[in-house]
């Protein structure tokens, strides 16, 4: 690890400025861990730099950087949809839930800015390019609900498993293997659902009816309404912290690494990141590379139907057949790497215990996650966030039913089987 040496040097060179009381904030172990984490981040940045000189895929480096940012945000803000839902349902602590609402709010403002330029005229039948605006049918409700059950059973959603993998959460491994199996299952059932429901389902995009400002106002009003309801329900809610107080740079850095970020800050940054991702590459999503791998595997082994009807014309985290690492693959690499760096520096990296029982529940939960997300054309990031931010009704339908699924799973105590 040559890069960690570089960072330790830069750490040393900055140490004269942080002598005295501030320096004593850090234990020796913390300093070492933080240096190693900086090394990991530097390595990821170096890879991005090397990728930028490769002309064949010019969005790979920015995808990697978006992944790094997402990994940091998810880990530091504990932006895990299942944990957030469970906090609210079980502990009546609804403060974390606000981060989702804030992410949708800031993201939809960002999307409005971009949409205004990408598709100035909303009166035609056209949709803004590649935005995650999907068909709305009973299949979406079913697949989102299934995804919610899968979250409860496996302990997290797909993005949750990816960032918790960086924290040493070993259940994420059977869960992600299950997810791949779930994708295969979804490809086998896709044609039936497509022909019987999805093909005729309407793709409802609010700006077609309300324009951009109307859609934004409606979205923000809905979010305010949900926030009001959620805050009222949160009888045990933790207070919303107003940022981190520190008097020195060293102290501020320590707080950033050790203390959980405020849900408002995290949510706002996730929304901004979603905007950047849509502007520069494609809407934020975490399943495309995984489902692409599953689809490529099936094609190479002659499993499943030759053609997936209509799938390639859908907007969402849709799998393609590709042997190489896609943009989304670089995003995932950045996400897991950065999450590890953040967790390791903060002393949150611990290898969790893997038992046969909790592996099996994670695996089965993963299958449900995979089937649900493929059939929904994305997961809690790709459809819930990127869809609602893009004013797609499909995003809201997914949101409602994934919550109901998780709610049912939690009430059935599925998450405690491990």
């Amino acid at each position: 690890m040559g890069s960690s040496v570089i960072t330790s040097q830069s750490q040393q060179s900055s140490s004269p400025g942080t002598t005295g009381a501030a320096a004593s904030l850090w234990t020796r172990a913390e300093k070492v861990r933080t240096s190693i984490s900086f090394g990991v981040i530097s390595l990821l940045l170096l890879i991005a730099f090397l990728l930028s000189s490769n002309t064949s895929n010019n969005t790979a480096p920015i995808s990697l950087l978006i992944g790094v940012s997402l990994g940091l945000l998810l880990e530091r803000g504990r932006f895990c949809f299942f944990c957030i839902f469970r906090d609210g349902i079980e502990d009546k602590n609804t403060t974390p839930f606000l981060s989702i609402l804030v992410a949708i709010a800031t993201g939809s403002i960002g999307y409005t800015l971009i949409f205004g330029q990408f598709l100035p005229d909303t009166s035609t039948d056209r949709l803004p390019p590649v935005a995650h605006i999907g068909p709305v049918s009973w299949v979406l409700a079913l697949s989102a609900f299934t995804f919610g059950i899968g979250m409860a059973l496996s302990g997290a959603c797909i993005s949750g498993h990816l960032y918790r993998l960086g924290q040493g959460y070993l259940r994420a491994i059977p869960a992600l293997i299950g997810t791949l199996a779930g994708f295969v299952l979804a490809f086998l059932t896709w044609n039936w659902f497509y022909l019987n429901a999805i093909a005729d389902a309407p793709t409802i995009w609010l700006p077609h009816y309300l324009g951009y400002s109307g859609s934004l106002i409606v979205t923000l009003l809905i979010l305010l309404g949900v926030a009001y309801f959620v805050i009222k329900r949160g009888v045990n809610s933790e207070p919303i912290r107003n940022g981190i107080s520190a008097t020195t740079l060293s102290g501020a850095l320590r707080n950033l690494i050790m203390q959980r970020w405020s849900p408002i800050t995290t949510g706002a940054l996730v929304g901004i990141l979603g905007t950047i991702a849509y502007l520069r590459v494609e809407p934020l999503g975490v399943t495309r590379q995984l489902s692409t791998s599953a689809r490529t595997f099936m094609k190479n082994n002659g499993i499943g139907p030759e053609t997936l009807n209509g799938l390639d014309r859908m907007a969402g985290c849709v799998a393609v057949v590709a042997e190489t690492i896609t943009n989304n693959g670089w995003l995932i690499i950045g996400l897991v790497g950065a999450s590890f760096a953040a967790a390791f520096a903060g002393g949150r990296f611990t290898l969790s215990k893997l038992t046969p029982k909790n592996s099996v529940t994670a695996l089965i939960g993963g299958v449900l996650l995979g089937w649900g997300s493929m059939t929904s054309l994305g997961c809690t990031i790709g459809v819930l966030l990127s869809g609602t931010q893009a004013f797609a009704v499909s995003g809201w339908v997914f949101f409602i039913f994934v919550f109901l699924g998780a709610f049912t799973g939690i009430k059935l105590k599925l998450h405690t089987i491990n």
Partner: protein, 312 residues
């Protein structure tokens, strides 16, 4: 140093005359090929209208050449109900809305070696626009040269483009043009621009595409000159001399009429552009192409591989 100085002076001289599109193409290149340097100097020229016709969704929106507008080939330039090119009335509306007048220089560019930009140029020529050019090297070369892109979408005052009835001499149909040649009643050069494997009937469709024709092979008498041979490795068109030689070596010298085709008529429009607009031959593009010909009942094909659809 001296060379650079001379270059700067020449550029300065040229740019003073650049209000009207100048014949600024370098030697051995046709006027119909717009050079990036020339285009860069004419980005704000009101007599030049730049149009991007790309295939990848969202590519225009994330950055395009300044003052370029977007045409979507599969909805803007075709009639999806009749499987036809866009009709005169709709094309007129589209062009006028884009601020195009009869004396406007239209410059088209796109991704993938100007594949669909050439289709756009073909349509513009059919409907009688006089000065239609394709950007050399298309979008890829422009990016590789490090030239600027913007996300700002321009709007223009409506132009006075007046549509002609449509020049039938640029478009081949199965009954009137292709079949008579295939059955050797009329003499013309047929050029199949698909890959050699498609031409020889080894495969029914290029990899990644569905089989859209139930027979493999080619139109009897057609010769195979894959479309990629028109361009250099960087996507720019080969020189006039090289192109002339490329086709002359295959026996095509422009002395008789030429018909180009591919699978759906899009890629062959690039070869149409090369032969018609760069070399000045009489060329018709057959947009029905193999998906019409290969599926039509009662017309003969030549299949060197003998493959039969559905047979083991």
């Amino acid at each position: 140093m001296k060379k650079i100085f001379v270059g700067v002076v020449t550029t300065a001289l040229f740019s003073t005359f650049a209000v009207v599109p100048a014949e600024a193409a370098p030697k051995n290149q046709a006027r119909a090929v717009a050079q990036p340097d020339w285009l860069e100097k004419n980005l704000d020229n009101p007599k030049v209208r730049i149009i991007e016709v790309s295939t990848e969704p969202g590519i225009y929106e994330r950055g395009h050449i300044k003052n370029a507008i977007k045409f979507t080939w599969h909805t803007d330039l075709v009639d999806t109900v009749n499987r036809d090119i866009i009709n005169a009335k709709n094309f007129s509306k589209l062009a006028q809305k884009a601020g195009i007048s009869d004396d406007t220089t239209v410059v088209l560019y796109g991704d993938k070696n100007n594949w669909f930009a050439a289709w756009g140029a073909w349509i513009f020529n059919i409907y009688g626009q006089k000065d239609v050019r394709v950007l050399d090297g298309g979008r890829v070369k422009w990016e590789k040269d490090g030239r600027a892109l913007t996300t700002a979408v321009p709007t223009f005052a409506a132009g006075n483009f007046s549509v002609t009835k449509g020049d039938r001499s640029l478009r081949a149909t199965l009954i009137n043009d292709v079949l008579p040649v295939a059955k050797k009643r009329v003499k013309a050069d047929l050029i199949d621009i698909r890959s050699a494997d498609e031409y020889n009937g080894k495969i029914f469709a290029p990899s990644g595409f569905q089989e859209l024709a139930v027979r493999a092979g080619h139109i009897p008498g057609a010769i195979n000159i894959p479309w990629g041979q028109n361009v250099n490795a960087d996507g720019t068109f080969k020189t006039v001399a090289d192109l002339k030689k490329l086709y002359a070596d295959k026996g095509i010298d422009g002395k008789q009429d030429i018909i180009t085709y591919c699978r759906i008529g899009e890629r062959s429009s690039l070869t149409w552009f090369v032969l018609s607009e760069i070399l000045g031959y009489n060329v018709k593009n057959y947009d029905g192409s193999w998906t019409e010909y290969g599926n039509t009942v009662g017309v003969p094909i030549q299949n060197n591989s003998g493959t039969i659809w559905g047979a083991a």
